[in-house]
C-alpha cells in the first residue's frame, strides 16, 4: 500500500525530527511481534498551510477592489450580488468566518497591552486593509467582501422599513458594543465579539447552543430588516463609518440628472439615502446649548462609566476566581465545592492576597477603562446629536456615505440609470 508507506515514512521522519534530539537514545522498545504487525503511527493532521493565509489576504484585497468597481464604476447590483455570494461561500462557508476583521479588532487591542499575546501578521493585515480601503472607496468591504453582510443581504426577503429616528438611535449600539469589546479585550477577559457573533456558527453549521440561538435570531431578523447586525451592532462597521464619511470616492446616484423621484430612497433597505432639503439657518444660541449638553454629557458618561467598569470587572475570570477563593477562605472548607480553577490555583499555593491584589489591578483597569467607555459613548452620542442638528442644503437624493454599504440597489431602481442602461451605455462614467 503506497499510502501506508507514505504515512509511516512521514510519521517516522516527523518523530525523528521532533523526538530524536532530546530523547532519541533511551526509548523503551515496544514489543517485538511475531506476526508481521506494523506499529501504526499516531494520527496527526497538518495544520492549514501558511501560504493559504496569504492567499486569503490576496483574495480579500481583490474582492474589495472588485466590489468597489462593481458599485462605483460598473454600477451593477447583479455583479455586487455575485461578488457577495462568492464572499459568503469563500470567507463564510469555506473559511468559516475566522479570522475576520470584526474580531481582529480585539486581537489588535489585546496585543497592544499584552506583548506576549500571539498576534499573527495576517490579523493585522485583515484588520487594516478594509479600513484603509474605506478611506478611498467607501464601504466596499461591507458591500461585497464581508460574509456576515453578504448573508444578511441575501436573506432580505420582505423588507420592513424602520423609521429613521429608530434607525439612528439603534445604530448607537454598535459604538457601545465596540467600546465594551475593546474594554473586555484590553483586560484579557473575553473576546465579546467572537463569543456572541451570530453568523460564525451558521458558517460552521455547528456551535454551542447560545451561539446557534443567537444566529437563528439574527437570520430571522435579516429576513425582514436590511442587515440588522451591520447597521446596529457591527463594531467594525462602527469603525468604518467615520472613515467612509471622508472617503475619496463615494456612491452617487444621479447627481446631474436627478428627477427627485424618491425611488432610490425607497430602494435602500438601510435608510442610507438622504433626501433633498432646504433648511433655515439655525441660531448660534442653540449650538451653544448643544455644546453645553455635549460637555456635561461627557462628564456624566465618565463618572458613571467608572462604576459601570467596576461592575463589568466581575465578568473577568480572575475576579470570579478571587471571589470563589475568598468564599472558600471565609467559609467552611468542607462545605464548599471548588471549581477546578480554584483547585488548581490553590494547588500552586500562591498567597490569596496576591490574587486579590491582582484582581484589584484588574478592577482598576476596568474602572479606568469604564471612564473611557462612558466618555466614548457620550462622545458618540453627542456627535450623533450634533449631526442631527446639522442641516446641510441638499437639492437631490444622495447616499449617506457613512451608512451606504455599496450594495447598488439604488442604481437598480433609478429610472435615469435604467434608461441609460437600456440605451446601451452600460458602463456609465461617474461624474
Amino acid at each position: 500500500m503506497k499510502v501506508n508507506y507514505k504515512r509511516v515514512l512521514i510519521g517516522a521522519i516527523f518523530l525523528y525530527l521532533v523526538a530524536s534530539p532530546v530523547f532519541g537514545e533511551y526509548k523503551f522498545p515496544p514489543p517485538e511481534f511475531d506476526t508481521n504487525y506494523l506499529v501504526p503511527v499516531m494520527r496527526t493532521v497538518p495544520a492549514r498551510a501558511d501560504w493559504l493565509v496569504y492567499l486569503d489576504i490576496f483574495i480579500l484585497i481583490e474582492v474589495i477592489l472588485l466590489s468597489a468597481w462593481a458599485s462605483l464604476k460598473r454600477r451593477s447590483r447583479n455583479i455586487v450580488m455575485l461578488i457577495s455570494m462568492f464572499s459568503l461561500l469563500y470567507f463564510g462557508f469555506y473559511k468559516e468566518g475566522c479570522i475576520c476583521p470584526i474580531g481582529a479588532v480585539q486581537d489588535i487591542v489585546l496585543s497592544l497591552t499584552n506583548p506576549n499575546y500571539y498576534l499573527p501578521f495576517t490579523a493585522v493585515l485583515i484588520f487594516i486593509i478594509p479600513l484603509v480601503a474605506s478611506l478611498f472607496i467607501g464601504r466596499a468591504y461591507c458591500g461585497g467582501a464581508c460574509p456576515h453582510g453578504a448573508l444578511q443581504d441575501l436573506l432580505l426577503l420582505k423588507e420592513i422599513k424602520i423609521p429613521r429616528w429608530l434607525d439612528r438611535s439603534l445604530s448607537m449600539l454598535a459604538y457601545i458594543y465596540l467600546g465594551l469589546a475593546v474594554l473586555f479585550a484590553l483586560t484579557d477577559s473575553v473576546f465579546l465579539i467572537c463569543k456572541y457573533d451570530p453568523f460564525v456558527p451558521i458558517f460552521r453549521l455547528t456551535g454551542p447552543f447560545y451561539m446557534l440561538l443567537n444566529g437563528g435570531f439574527f437570520v430571522l431578523l435579516s429576513l425582514f430588516i436590511g442587515r440588522p447586525y451591520c447597521r446596529f451592532l457591527c463594531p467594525y462597521g462602527a469603525l468604518l463609518k467615520p472613515l467612509a464619511l471622508v472617503s475619496r470616492e463615494k456612491v452617487t446616484i444621479t447627481p446631474d440628472k436627478c428627477i427627485v423621484c424618491k425611488l432610490c430612497e425607497d430602494s435602500c433597505p438601510f435608510g442610507a439615502i438622504n433626501k433633498p432639503d432646504k433648511p433655515e439657518r439655525r441660531k448660534a444660541k442653540n449650538r451653544l446649548v448643544v455644546l453645553g449638553l455635549f460637555i456635561s454629557g461627557l462628564i456624566a458618561g465618565g463618572v458613571l462609566g467608572n462604576y459601570t467598569g467596576a461592575l463589568l470587572a466581575t465578568y473577568n475570570r480572575d475576579v470570579k476566581l478571587a471571589v470563589e477563593i475568598y468564599a472558600y477562605s471565609e467559609g467552611e472548607p468542607e462545605k464548599i465545592i471548588l471549581s477546578d480553577y480554584a483547585k488548581e490555583y490553590i494547588r500552586t499555593g500562591e498567597s490569596s492576597l496576591l490574587l486579590y491584589e491582582k484582581v484589584a489591578g484588574v478592577k482598576n483597569k476596568f474602572k479606568t477603562g469604564g471612564i473611557y467607555l462612558g466618555v466614548w459613548i457620550m462622545f458618540v452620542m453627542g456627535l450623533q446629536f450634533l449631526y442631527a442638528a446639522r442641516k446641510p442644503k441638499r437639492d437631490i437624493y444622495e447616499p449617506d456615505s457613512a451608512r451606504c454599504m455599496s450594495c447598488a440597489r439604488c442604481f437598480r431602481d433609478c429610472p435615469i440609470e435604467r434608461q441609460e442602461k437600456s440605451t446601451g451605455d452600460g458602463s456609465r462614467k461617474q461624474e
Binding site: F28, K320, L338
Partner: protein, 342 residues
C-alpha cells in the same frame, strides 16, 4: 388552466411529502434511549459543572485500611544524586548502596556517606546488586559489570545471544548471574565469569513461559532456597523458577482490592526478605505491600501517598534486620521502613 391547477396542488403536495419523508427518516433513525436531562450546575467561576462521568476517580483506588499497615517509616536518607536508579543493601555489613549514572552513595545504616565515583562508566540507568561472594554487580542499560577487585564487563546492545536492550535487574547466586532484560523481555543466565548459559522467556515456547513487559519494569530476586523469582509485570504475577531457571509456579492476580495488583504492569519492583516474604512496589497507585511466600497478602509497608506521585518505579532492598529500603527516584531519597515496634 388545468395544468395550472395540477401545478398548484401538485407542488404543494410534493413538497410537503418530501418534507414529511425527510422528517420520517429523521424520526426513524432515532431510537429512544434513556435521555437523562443534562443537569448543568454552575460552579463558582460560572462554568458549567462537568458531567459526573467525566470524572475519573483515583482517590477510590488509593484507599486502604490503616489496620493493615505493618511498617512505619524509620528514617529518610537524602542521596544527593541527580538521577538515582539502583538501590541495594549488602546484607553482610548492612551498608546501603545507591547508584546513579554519575556516581554512587554508600550509606552506613541511615547515615549517608559521600558520593563516590562509580568503578566503571555506565551507559544509562540499569541495576545494581551484591552477588553471593560480595561482588558488586553493576549494570547499565545494556552492559553488566562484575566488580570484585577486577572488573569483568559483558553485553552490548542488541537482541542476540548475550545482548541486552534494557536491563532492569541483575542478581547473582552462588553459581549464576541472572539478568532481567525488559527490552528483550527475557531473563538471561550467565556464569560468574559472564559466560552465556541460557535464557528464560523471549517467546520461549518450549519453556511455556513468556514475559509480558509493557513498560521498563522487570524485577528479580532469589528466595532463601535459591529459587529465582521474576516479576512478570504485564501478567501482574510473580513467577518462580528453579535455581537452574525452570519455571515452577506463580502467584498474583489483578484487581482493585488491596491484596491484588492494579495497573497495566505491576509489581514494578519487589524484594524477598529474610523470612521469604515478598515486599512489592507498585506504580500508578504508588504503594509497597507485603506478601508471604505463598503469595498471601500480609499487609501494607508504605500506603498510597507515601511517595512522590511522579515516581514510576520504586527500587527496593531489605537488610538483614528486614528493614525495607525504598528509593524515591523523584525526590532522590532512600526511605527506610521497619516493622512497627521494631
Amino acid at each position: 388552466m388545468d395544468r395550472k391547477i395540477i401545478f398548484k396542488n401538485g407542488i404543494w403536495i410534493l413538497l410537503v411529502a418530501a418534507g414529511l419523508v425527510g422528517g420520517y427518516f429523521m424520526a426513524s433513525s432515532y431510537i429512544p434511549g434513556n435521555t437523562a436531562v443534562n443537569e448543568v450546575k454552575s460552579d463558582g467561576a460560572g462554568n458549567p459543572a462537568l458531567p459526573e462521568n467525566f470524572k475519573y476517580d483515583m482517590a477510590k483506588l488509593k484507599q486502604y485500611d490503616p489496620r493493615q499497615l505493618l511498617y512505619g517509616e524509620e528514617t529518610k536518607i537524602k542521596t544527593g544524586l541527580k538521577e538515582p536508579f539502583g538501590l541495594t543493601v549488602n546484607k553482610k555489613d548492612g551498608r546501603v548502596l545507591v547508584v546513579s549514572t554519575e556516581g554512587m552513595l554508600v550509606c552506613d545504616g541511615a547515615i549517608a556517606g559521600k558520593v563516590a565515583a562509580l568503578p566503571v562508566r555506565l551507559e544509562g540507568p540499569g541495576s545494581v546488586s551484591f552477588g553471593f561472594a560480595g561482588e558488586l554487580l553493576l549494570a547499565g542499560r545494556d552492559r553488566v559489570n562484575i566488580v570484585s577487585g577486577t572488573i569483568i564487563g559483558f553485553g552490548k546492545k542488541g537482541k542476540g545471544v548475550g545482548e541486552f536492550k534494557y536491563i532492569t535487574s541483575v542478581k547473582a547466586n552462588a553459581k549464576y548471574i541472572f539478568t532481567a532484560d525488559a527490552g528483550n523481555r527475557r531473563v538471561c543466565k550467565f556464569d560468574l565469569k559472564g559466560k552465556y548459559l541460557g535464557q528464560i522467556g523471549r517467546k520461549d515456547k518450549a519453556a511455556g513461559k513468556n514475559f509480558v513487559i509493557p513498560s521498563p519494569h522487570m524485577d528479580m530476586d532469589f528466595d532463601s532456597k535459591g529459587n529465582l523469582w521474576v516479576a512478570n509485570a504485564g501478567l501482574l504475577q510473580l513467577e518462580k523458577y528453579s535455581p537452574e531457571g525452570v519455571f515452577v509456579s506463580s502467584w498474583g492476580k489483578h484487581g482493585i482490592n488491596i491484596d491484588e495488583f492494579i495497573g497495566c504492569c505491576n509489581p514494578v519492583n519487589f524484594v524477598i526478605d529474610g523470612g521469604d516474604n515478598f515486599i512489592t512496589a507498585e506504580k500508578g497507585v504508588l504503594r509497597i505491600k507485603k506478601y508471604d511466600k505463598t503469595g498471601k497478602f500480609l499487609g501494607v509497608v508504605a500506603p498510597p501517598g507515601t511517595f512522590n506521585e511522579k515516581n514510576t518505579s520504586i527500587p527496593l532492598a531489605v537488610d538483614s534486620k528486614n528493614r525495607v529500603y525504598a528509593l524515591d527516584t523523584i525526590e532522590k531519597t532512600v526511605r527506610v521502613f521497619s516493622e512497627k515496634g521494631y
